[in-house]
């Protein structure tokens, strides 16, 4: 046997595994031809496989796992990522839909999981699927079922996790509710809004039909499967013949989908036209008869549909305003009269063969419906009836012929639709009507989407590509309309930031702000969005000083324009608190959030993601100070619950989870923190790729959680890997890199690797001193760490001088919080090494009164000072004083940690006191305390 033969055997082997056992013999004989040895080779391996997997009849685990398009039993009960599949909701051309819940979640999150059983990915397909999935996760509209998650199973089958919607298809709803023509139009109009929203984000639906538009029991429409077509392989292939691979429903497909030419916003317009036709007349413009696709295809390509008003007289069906199709002839005539004229024109205009003859955007279609409803003249006009398709057909003859061949073979049986019951999980938010200006901005972006060179991209471009193109086109677009230009700059900038391209984004946001200023709209809500996006970008870059500067520029203006209680002002305030946190001003951040949060809750509602985000920030601050810890735990739990439904593609979701890891680690629940940290790292790696920049933050948090969970060696491994990964990706003085290196250095120190630590800490200190100032909290902290590294190498005097200068600087600046007292503690420790316990006592005695005055009773710095004092008193023989002090520490912690004897702080105090009793011979007391801390 040689290499080539081995490879061939392997290829055939896997091919066979995918087939049902009954088809194998035949196919195997075909593939191997006369080569009996090869056939025998593969057969023996297959046999072995069957023995070991115990599936002789079905033929191997591989094909079993893929569901095989039967009842889906093979999938039910299976897990995909964190989702456990529990029942079949329906099946369609692309695969099966299951109802599922999140495993191990504390509350019931029901979702719909679409398993694309007909596809198995290679690496390239996998990467592309991931990219598209990330983009789709950005669709956020109350009328669009959210994409929550997605991935590829172990055996290569892709799946998508969507919001679970409980409703019925829009056509059935209209019949059931016996809606009038006007009500049907109003409902349809809301569907248009949702489609338009997606188009503004450069995403086409491409498979719009009633079964993808469900109406919930309270009458809200909700679109399913948005952009799913695009996320699939074949979804944007360049070859015309690939058209059959993209999922489409023949009766709703636009001519260009069959022809395989460029798709654009007009494709969705066509499909909306078919849906409207169906809602108004009860029938479809063209029907597929007995599963035969070719005649339908010909009609779609060549026949002008009959005007809606002309079909209601003769066609059976459930036209508007009827119950079950039993219309009297009078009613039919009334309906005909309603439809005749404008509505005929609107529907036929949407259904034109050539994309550029239709409404160019969904907005235009919606505007005509609005015009009809308000009895204004519509844009579509009688020209429809004169419209001819001859030219179109002549031009597309070849494509039509080719498409017929492909479609017939691929699509037969593929049009079955999922008739599932879905449930709306989220409270329906109010749909926001786009302002006229926003419409122009969206149109411009849509143009970028639809003007793709079809020869190169097959009609679709990635968001990033379209953005780059928009950025270039912006130079010359809307020159006479500065307000639209400002909006465009802002939209493009925000999109860049949300894609993680902060520098590009900042450039456009800056231009937007200049433009708003020139318009005299510096303090408009549009301008606020640009400011907030800039601040958010700085946060992503870990550049908190810049964040604060950005907020400081903006806040007074908005406060003046909208008032102090407006959401703009409040959110800027909260962003500033995040910046204060990031720059080390913890006390300031807590005070400011304590003030802002209640107002923010009453303005935005207590379950708004933005509220959750700020609650988590506060929880972390409290955890850091070890104050109000019970409240902090509640904030974490509540925040996690609020963001859970947002899904992994959502920035707030990721940020809140990250904060939760840090918070739980410090709030005495390190095991939960480690578990959450691990899953967060896995999510980030899945989203952005292993080792990528976007995973650094979550890996750092995991290390922190590990450290709190007393696993410093593992934490060190994690941090070492992050620091190594960061080296080629981040500039030497990138703030994020500095932070990672500083954490790593601090940990190195505890492993005795002081000289390595010193190098990194010197760099960190120099960075913070240069950026934030010599006396900034960040620079001070780095300097204190550095002192630790210096001392560890035996240079105690040098270290003492360093920490003295830190204490002095804190005192001089009037910052009397944790920072000062932790520095004091370090100083006490350093003096102890040269001068003994009396020196420790001297330092603590000097600062304790101030600490008692300024710090709350449960504060860790205060109690550590007390505990240290107690220890020194004990060692110098002043046992009675020592006992009093250590007793106080324990009482403080017990009172402030909810009486929980097992809280790490309380345990620490209990053990210290027990040790004192042992040394002073009060053994019974000692034993009583030891019993409390097993």
């Amino acid at each position: 046997m040689d290499k080539a033969r081995y490879r061939l055997a392997q290829e055939i082997y896997f091919e066979m595994l995918e087939l049902p056992a009954t088809q194998r013999a035949h196919t195997l004989a075909q593939r191997c031809g006369n080569d009996l040895a090869l056939r025998e080779d593969v057969e023996s391996l297959l046999e072995l496989d069957a023995q070991h997997t115990g599936h002789l009849a079905t033929g191997g685990a591989f094909s079993q796992l893929r569901g095989m398009g039967d009842g889906g039993d093979a999938w039910t009960g299976r897990r995909l990522g964190p989702w456990s599949l529990d029942g079949v909701l329906g099946r369609g051309g692309m695969g099966m839909v299951f109802s599922a819940t999140r495993v191990g979640s504390t509350f019931d999150q029901r979702v719909a999981v679409k398993v694309l059983t007909h596809r198995v990915f290679d690496q390239e397909g996998h990467d592309r699927f991931d990219r598209e999935r990330r983009m789709l996760a950005r669709l956020d509209h109350p009328r669009i079922a959210r994409l929550i998650d997605g991935g590829v199973s172990d055996d290569g089958v892709p799946y998508l996790v969507m919001e679970y919607v409980d409703g019925i298809p829009i056509d059935q709803w209209c019949e059931q509710q016996q809606l009038s023509v006007a009500d049907r139009l109003r409902l349809f109009r809301r569907v248009c809004d949702a489609v338009q929203h997606a188009h503004g984000r450069l995403i086409l639906h491409r498979d719009l039909k009633p079964s993808n538009v469900l109406v919930t029991h309270d009458g809200h429409p909700k679109l399913l499967d948005f952009g799913v077509a695009r996320a699939l392989p074949g979804g944007d292939d360049t070859e015309v013949t690939q058209v059959g691979l993209a999922p489409l429903t023949p009766e709703y497909a636009a001519p260009e989908q069959f022809a395989g030419t460029e798709l654009s916003a007009a494709t969705d317009v066509y499909q909306l036209g078919v849906m409207l036709y169906r809602l108004l007349t009860g029938v479809l413009p063209f029907r597929q008869k007995e599963g035969q696709l070719a005649p339908l295809l010909q009609h779609v390509m060549e026949t002008v549909p009959r005007a809606p008003s002309t079909v209601v007289l003769t066609q059976p069906g459930e036209p508007a305003g009827t119950s079950g199709g039993s219309l009297t002839s009078t009613e039919r005539r009334e309906l005909r009269n309603t439809l005749r004229g404008d509505l005929d024109d609107i529907v036929l205009m949407a259904l034109r063969k050539e994309a550029d003859q239709r409404y160019r955007t969904v907005d235009e279609l919606a505007a005509d419906i609005d015009a009809y409803l308000t009895q204004r003249p519509v844009r579509a006009h009688g020209g429809n009836r004169a419209y001819r398709v001859r030219k179109f057909v002549a031009r597309h003859r070849t494509a039509v012929a080719l498409a017929s061949l492909v479609c017939v073979s691929v699509l037969v049986g593929g049009a079955a639709t999922a008739r599932a019951t879905w449930r709306a999980q989220q409270a329906a938010a109010q749909s926001v009507r786009e302002a006229k200006k926003a419409g122009a901005i969206q149109q411009f972006l849509q143009q970028m989407l639809s003007s793709a060179d079809p020869l190169r991209t097959g009609g679709n471009v990635s968001v990033r590509e379209a953005l780059d193109r928009a950025a270039t086109a912006l130079d010359t677009a809307f020159l006479g309309e500065p307000s639209i230009r400002a909006g465009l700059y802002s939209t493009v900038g925000q999109t860049y930031v949300s894609l993680g391209a902060v520098r590009e984004g900042d450039r456009f946001l800056d231009s937007a702000l200049v433009a708003y200023e020139q318009l005299g709209e510096s303090w408009s809500r549009e301008a606020y969005a640009a400011h907030a996006a800039r601040a958010y970008g700085h946060m992503l870059e870990n550049n908190f000083a810049e964040l604060r500067a950005t907020v400081a520029d903006a806040r007074p203006g908005f406060e003046q324009a909208f008032g102090a209680r407006d959401s703009t002002t409040l959110q800027l305030g909260a962003l500033d608190a995040v910046g204060a946190f990031g720059t080390g001003s913890v006390r300031e951040a807590i005070d400011s959030l304590d003030m802002i949060l209640p107002k923010l809750r009453s303005t935005l509602g207590s379950s708004a993601p933005n509220v959750a985000f700020n609650e988590l920030v506060l929880a972390n601050l409290l955890a850091l100070q070890a104050e109000r810890t019970d409240e902090a735990v509640k904030l974490v739990e509540n925040g996690l619950r609020i963001v859970e439904p947002l899904g992994i593609g959502n920035a707030t979701y990721l940020a809140v989870q990250g904060f939760a890891v840090e918070g739980l680690a410090r709030l005495g629940r390190p095991q939960e923190a480690v578990a959450l940290g691990r899953s967060l790292v896995a999510r980030h790696e899945e989203l952005w790729g292993e080792g990528s920049k976007s995973t650094f933050g979550s890996r750092r948090l995991l290390a922190l959680a590990l450290l709190e969970n007393r696993r410093p060696d593992t934490a060190l491994l994690v941090l070492a890997a992050v620091v190594e990964d960061a080296r080629p990706l981040l500039a030497d003085d990138h703030p994020l890199r500095i932070m990672l290196e500083q954490d790593y250095a601090t940990l190195l120190l505890s492993f005795g690797r002081a000289s390595e630590a010193e190098t990194l800490l010197r760099k960190a200190h120099a960075f913070h001193a240069a950026r934030d100032g010599d006396n900034s909290p960040k620079a001070m902290l780095a300097y204190q760490n550095l002192a630790g590294a210096v001392q560890a190498q035996g240079r105690t005097d040098e270290a003492i001088a360093m920490v003295e200068s830190v204490v002095e600087s804190h005192r001089a600046s009037g910052r009397g919080g944790n920072d000062l007292f932790f520095a004091v503690l370090q100083l006490a420790e350093l003096r102890n090494t040269t001068l003994g316990d009396s020196a420790t006592l001297a330092v603590i005695d000097e600062y304790l009164p101030t600490a008692r005055e300024r710090l709350p009773r449960g504060n860790r710095a205060l109690n550590m000072m007390l505990a240290r004092q107690g220890q020194a008193l004990l060692r110098t023989g002043r046992t009675e004083e020592a006992e009093l002090v250590l007793h106080e520490v324990r009482e403080n912690y017990l009172a402030e940690r909810g009486g929980n004897a097992q809280h790490p702080d309380v345990k620490f105090a209990t053990q210290a006191l027990a040790a004192l009793y042992e040394q002073t011979g009060k053994l019974a007391e000692a034993e009583r305390l030891r019993d409390q801390v097993p």
Binding site: L45, L48, D713, E724
Partner: protein, 192 residues
Amino acid sequence: MTSDDLAITRLLSNYAGGDAAAADQLMPLIYAELHGIASALMRRERSDHTWQPTLLVHDAFLRMVGNNASWRSRQHFFAVAAHAMRRLLVDHARATHAQKRGGGSERVELHPELLASEPSDDGSIDIEALDLALSQLAQLDERQARVVELRFFAGLDVTETAEVLGVSPATVKRDWHFARRWLQREIQRDRS
């Protein structure tokens, strides 16, 4: 840190830096360490002790490289250690084979997936037959042989194996699946 430890660290970083010869120098060092640990185990434990090669490898890693290693060094260590472990097991099997009557019957506990598939009469695996088949496999598909070595002798999981070899986990899974079937068949044929 002893000079040996330093040598290991230096060799690993050379290897990571693309110096293939470093692997050849690492081999005997790791082999010696594995051998030392295994002998100590056998002296201490009862004669029917169960070997767990993957634990041995991890133990050797901690002793030779320790916690200070970077993630990359760890990968490179296991890449070499898997091969060293294989050699050690084969040598050991040959030795006990030669003095079967006298010695105890140490059981070797290998990757359960392979063990469950093809246990011989006494429940252990025929290391020599596996070694032979694996060498044949390396002629036909070198990467697949490496996948088996890493998973089997160093106990790496799919993700870790994929990282060491610089391929996707899906590829490792496919390789592992097919190579296992192929090896099982070859060993079976060999026996009959």
